[in-house]
Symmetry: C2
Subunit: 138 residues, 2 copies
């Protein structure tokens, strides 16, 4: 937990906070480079891990390709387009009550839950093949 301040860490967080998309490490690296050309990809990864451990950002797992990251702090749900791969935040009430329900049913002590919806975004409805566009801006 003892971590010092660093320009690089602040920049990574700033870049991530500054977008509504849910970018991967590579994209964050490219953006960060624009402002600090010397920053390294390793440092981006190191800081993403640290920020996640601190609870300041969230990691969104993905089977293929790399993880996406999200700087939104409050609990919320995600929506992923099966065609273009974009990830969006959803403005739907979080069901905190189900944690207690699961605690009683299982004997675990639940700290949180992740809910992700999969479907097709409006632009992909017609049946756009996956390869056509990987849209990070959502």
């Amino acid at each position: 937990m003892q971590s010092r301040k660093s320009k690089q860490r602040e920049l990574v967080l700033k870049v991530l906070t500054g977008t509504r998309s849910h970018p991967d490490a590579e994209w964050l690296y490219e953006q960060a480079r624009k402002e600090m050309p010397g920053i390294s990809l390793g440092t981006v990864y190191r800081n993403l891990r640290l920020l996640k451990a601190r609870g300041e950002i969230q990691e969104i797992l993905s089977g293929t390709s790399g993880s996406r990251y999200d700087a939104t702090v409050d609990n919320h749900y995600h929506l992923r387009c099966l065609s273009c791969g974009s990830v969006h935040d959803i403005d739907v009430p979080v069901r905190e009550d189900i944690n207690a329900e699961v605690e009683h049913a299982t004997g675990f002590s639940i700290s949180h839950h992740h809910l992700e919806f999969h479907g097709l975004c409006p632009s992909c409805r017609p049946g756009t093949p996956l390869s056509q566009s990987i849209n990070l801006q959502g």
Copy 2:
């Protein structure tokens, strides 16, 4: 979709169906080898991918380490222990209604959702460190 039968594929599915744990590819490979020593890890991966594409099995993503797999076909939720990493199925009613809710709220057409709970399993309560046991049997 044109896929032929193969002893290897049947075996991988049999092994996965035969356990209530949610093993990774390596574990499935080791088990499969007991019955068919010549099977290769690449084949296990190939078949896991094919079976998943067919909808016969499910992939459980995990940030660190490899994916876990689940042969349970009907929709259900997962519970992961933050300490030992074990994954369990939960017997809690699936909320199909929230798909429609999200469709209306977002304009996406939702096909399904994934819900995963994180917490500590009864055996890990005291505060067992992560490294002590990676329990695949749950």
